[in-house]
């Protein structure tokens, strides 16, 4: 079954006695966004982490362009960006340094690219301040800059709009729409409505065990 995009088949995952993922399945073609919804504790983060391979599901498989991702995890990983609850930033480094070391491990970067991405998220004015002096929303913006710099086909976003002001939330929407427009895929776990055109969004509702 040659199939473009991302798919999950019958994912089961237990945490001790709790059956966190109970036969989760979805398909997501390029250019679409999957909105993972559900109450607290319904396994949204677990699903995201299982899809990107940080957690191993007991049964089921993840398909990327029709192939099981466990056949070639490094190739799958180089095509995805995962951003969890907390942006993975070093508090002693500046926003610019953080981006350089974080993204530089993945791809070649130039200074102008970094500056451009920071300007895009409105971070130019404070990009050389140590991250520990930034607010939670500002850190989130740095993570958005990283997302746009990586230029990978698959984004996995855990609560992408938390701590952001209205303009910041709209920026998330714009970035996601651009990603979809160039044929990328987005998996976003969030309680809020995503600021994205509805016809591009599929919804996956997770139930609490």
């Amino acid at each position: 079954m040659a199939y473009e995009g991302l798919g999950a088949e019958d994912l089961h995952l237990w945490r001790g006695e709790r059956h966190v993922l109970d036969g989760v399945a979805f398909t997501l073609p390029p250019g679409f966004c999957l909105h993972v919804a559900g109450a607290n504790g319904s396994g949204k983060t677990t699903l995201l982490r299982a899809v990107c391979g940080l957690l191993y599901a007991e049964t089921g498989r993840i398909l990327w362009n029709g192939r099981d991702v466990s056949e070639d995890l490094p190739a799958f990983h180089s095509g995805l960006m995962y951003i969890g609850h907390e942006p993975p930033l070093k508090s002693d480094l500046s926003a610019l340094e953080n981006l350089r070391y974080w993204l530089g491990v993945r791809r070649r970067l130039t200074h102008s690219l970094l500056e451009g991405a920071l300007q895009r998220v409105g971070a130019s004015a404070w990009s050389d301040r140590p991250v520990r002096t930034l607010s939670a929303g500002q850190k989130r913006r740095v993570a958005l800059a990283a997302l746009s710099l990586a230029l990978v086909p698959l984004w996995l976003l855990d609560e992408p709009t938390t701590n952001l002001d209205t303009a910041g939330q709209q920026l998330v929407g714009t970035l996601i729409e651009e990603q979809l427009a160039r044929g990328g895929l987005v998996l976003a776990a969030t309680h809020q409505e995503l600021p994205v055109a509805r016809e591009r969004v599929k919804r996956l509702e997770l139930a609490v065990d």
Binding site: H77, K90, Q119, A167, R182
Partner: protein, 249 residues
């Protein structure tokens, strides 16, 4: 949607980049260099952590003559043992910080999802750890040895022995540090895990140093130390990467 353009600034900068096709992936060497530079920069922004093991080493080796006896002939006999026990404990002290901060802030997660081999990035991190603890210890060891009555001619031998031995210690320690990542207050467990594995390094390191101080040939134990370091370079990053993956679950 009118105010989006005001926030987004210049989308043209990124659009132009996309026009040139997919971005060039970073080579493995680039990735390792960035991991190394990041850790060095962080260490120098937080000097307290950097100085702690070195201060410990200096304290132990200077307190010893006060406690044992000021007689140089007797000090010279215990010098290799004192040096190596102090070096072993000092490097153990620094181990706890090897992966802890990176695990906390999600950096290890990003490393494991970077598409680069995690084993290779672990090796880069361990090399940085050695540069920040092992290498300074190797430079401090002759000073401590001289104060314990070792002759000046033994200085190069001591530097080489401690340098090679601490490479092995850092690598062995990286396994323990990775395995104990998920555990709070892991210090004692880390010591219990790594000390038995470090004993051969202690034994051959102390032997090589003793021979160097006496002025005889120390090649044989030094070669064994080097063999352990090379074995560590080939195997320890694999084990550390596996340990990190488990702790991320």
């Amino acid at each position: 949607m009118t105010n989006v353009t005001a926030v987004t600034g210049e989308p043209a900068a990124l659009a132009g980049e996309e026009g040139r096709g997919p971005p060039a992936p970073a080579s493995m060497l680039d990735a390792a260099r960035l991991v190394l530079l990041r850790d060095l920069k962080l260490a120098f922004r937080r000097r307290g952590q950097l100085v702690q093991p070195l201060a410990f080493f200096a304290m132990v080796t200077t307190l010893f003559p006060l406690a044992v006896s000021p007689e140089l002939s007797r000090l010279r006999e215990v010098a290799p043992g004192v040096l190596w026990v102090a070096a072993l404990l000092a490097s153990l002290l620094a181990l706890e910080f090897l992966f802890r901060d990176d695990a906390h802030d999600g950096t290890l997660e990003q490393y494991s999802l970077s598409g680069q081999p995690l084993t290779w990035l672990m090796l880069a991190k361990t090399v940085t750890h050695w540069l920040l603890t092992g290498a300074p210890l190797a430079l401090m060891a002759p000073l401590a040895a001289l104060s314990l009555g070792a002759p000046g001619a033994s200085v190069p031998g001591i530097v080489i022995c401690v340098a090679v031995g601490t490479v092995a210690l850092s690598l062995i320690g990286s396994i323990g540090a990775a395995l104990t990542l998920g555990i709070r207050r892991s210090g004692v467990l880390l010591a219990l895990l790594t000390l038995p594995l470090s004993l051969p390094v202690l034994i051959f390191g102390a032997r090589a140093t003793e021979l160097a101080i006496r002025g005889s040939a120390y090649g044989a134990p030094l070669e064994l130390l080097a063999a352990m370091a090379i074995l560590g370079i080939t195997l320890a990053p694999l084990a550390a990467a596996a340990g990190v993956r488990i702790s991320l679950e």
